[in-house]
Subunit: 456 residues, 2 copies
Amino acid sequence: MSENNENIQFKVTDELIDQVHVLIENMDDKGTQELLKDIHYADIAEILDDLNIDQATYVIKLLDSEKTSDILMELDEDDREKILASLSAKEIAEEIEELDTDDAADIIAELPEERQKRVMAQIEDERLAAQLQELMTYDEDSAGGLMAKELVKVYETWTVAGCLRRIRAQAKDVTRVHSIYVVTKDEKLIGRLSLKDLIIANNDQKISDIYKSGVDYVNANDDVEDVAKVMAKYDLEAIPVVDDETTLLGRITIDDIVDVIKEEADKDYQLAAGITQEVEADDSILELTRARLPWLFLGLLGGIGAFLIMGGFEDTFNENAVLFFFTPLIAAMAGNVGVQSSAIIVQGLANDDVKGSINNRLIKEMLLATLNGIILAIFLFLFVWAYERQTDKALAISVSMVAVIIVAGLIGTFVPLFLNKRGIDPAIATGPFITTSNDIFGILIYFLIAKLILGI
Amino acid sequence: MSENNENIQFKVTDELIDQVHVLIENMDDKGTQELLKDIHYADIAEILDDLNIDQATYVIKLLDSEKTSDILMELDEDDREKILASLSAKEIAEEIEELDTDDAADIIAELPEERQKRVMAQIEDERLAAQLQELMTYDEDSAGGLMAKELVKVYETWTVAGCLRRIRAQAKDVTRVHSIYVVTKDEKLIGRLSLKDLIIANNDQKISDIYKSGVDYVNANDDVEDVAKVMAKYDLEAIPVVDDETTLLGRITIDDIVDVIKEEADKDYQLAAGITQEVEADDSILELTRARLPWLFLGLLGGIGAFLIMGGFEDTFNENAVLFFFTPLIAAMAGNVGVQSSAIIVQGLANDDVKGSINNRLIKEMLLATLNGIILAIFLFLFVWAYERQTDKALAISVSMVAVIIVAGLIGTFVPLFLNKRGIDPAIATGPFITTSNDIFGILIYFLIAKLILGI
């Protein structure tokens, strides 16, 4: 086994981090450079996570920009922002010149507006500056905001031999070639070729004879989530981006899509847990409070609503305190059923799995909730009857729980479908939103039905 | 714009599905073939989702196996199983021969054991049969279970020219080349090359002069989730898989990893919502009940626990009914805070973001919960005081809510960290598990502290 090969089990060890700490404290430029020379940029980024901003900036200034540009891209946005703040416009421009255009445009977009201009002025390559200028005009959630200008393109009139010659030049700028895009002389996308096709073809064939005309593409204004769905569905590793006239503008690669998919999944997960998107365990207490408190406040209002409802039934139930003791159970069931049914709908919508009419969904959920409700109610009836020896109360509590479960399931199914129809992200309907509204409805229904059955 | 080019906006329309329905009802073989000829296999799979199994089987038998094998891979496992059940062993073997080895092995593994042998016996290509036999020995959650045998490999002793000639032969079997792996004469992985490197090199150079010796690899026994993390971290599009002696066995490509990431995110999301993994909105009511009922039952037990606790405080009820009316609020706050804090930890663990000791996490969560709790308590105090005009009760309810929120946050933080340390998936600690336990603890703490403050 060659010494350079690395099993993925290689991790950033505590010893390595300690070593870096010592070297930095001693301001040992040479030693630090030597130690980090053969370490992957993603691993160095992980080490920098463990340093403070001054130490991280020291490391960034020490290594050459070919490596540090990649390291910067791996860091948290917050950390990157702080490090960039202590670099000069010239230094930032050097980092940017090492990056692919999509990453470079993202970094510039994160800078304060005044800084952006100064950094752009320091970029020596005019073609690159123009490309970045173009990329920055797109919305960050659009295909244009995600695409890179780096791609390999050939004109339909070229020969295979001429093509290979020119590709050698173009390919040096492109990290991964994936597809070669075939365009007309006025830059309209008409097809694609793989490197493999080119290698297998004869040198004197023309591109127009061998290219594949069926090529998927996206418009620069398409939403990135749609792009992600399409690339996953059709197993694409790269997709070209065009304007309304099908002029080839850039391309999106699968590694960027992996990030989109992860971010999307994280966002939905956090919304379901009652956390406003985009916080991490390592964020400050104030940031975490800002993300969590609004949802807790919603829960507080729901709890006050439940209090008011229960207070309204106080006179009726002086004789029946036991009914009040089951409200946490009722609220929990309403919340759990609501979260389950809304989560299934939200996930189905995200995966384009939800077909058929809203009515059919509601009927199915009603049957499902009824089935689950009756099974649970039988158990609850037996418990209450065994414990209290009062058939009428056991019946009132169990029957109203079934009703609560059915209504909770219907609300959990209807709300995300309704939001989705209105073009609102259905993920906000999960978590505290659905548990809070179901708590209130659940408790109200519970007392109304119990009152009816007990005839009080 | 060429007629064959497709914007991603192309979707399976209702008209198209209706057309297919009509053609199938008329048993119009020719018409069906003609209509589906130019449609992507992923789109045909989407159409088949809308047909019943007999209709879908009819379509599968009608199209040629080059296309149907890809369609089968896109279908739900349940649907695929039913369709395969009505194909002969010979027909299944034909499908399998069209697939990449990783997909082929997955399909065979889904068949009943008896059927597996009969299908394997029908595979004419002996090399393929041996490869499938090997792949089926790996655990489905291991790198070996995910890898394909298709890859392009060259020996270090070859020249660039000889290499290109041989690659032309090998590459025909490989959908996407990504990297070319360099091995010694006894098949040990020593490095890699990109097609680009090969195209840029001179024809008479030797592979040993131009290959890159630093190559990431995984062991066939590594867990797929670890493989996914590494490929995402290092932005890899393919990774070679080796055995303990670094013999090159196969490779894993990024499209399979995209599926792993999505499945993992879906599983965590469902667990957080109280759904046993792997159900979809379109599954049967019985399957959905099986996935949902156990969690609801857990919630029911929690509710009964809350009932028993409240019953224990019944004596105080007559004078202080208002305390009981706030139990849904207390339960909701305990549940919400618990879900928030556990979700942040679970997500942090999934992204390898959680560093530092458990103690530090707990201290941070305590500060956070105290801050949130006090803000909410001030609001609650003002409400209760305004509504009931009783300072002692307002104080008792508010102070105990703060205590409940702190304990709930600590439980939500501790449980997933603890499970993770023990090697148990921390995602099970979210959702109903945490809300139920927090309901019980919350209500108990609430009554104990309220009683203490009110001196009853």
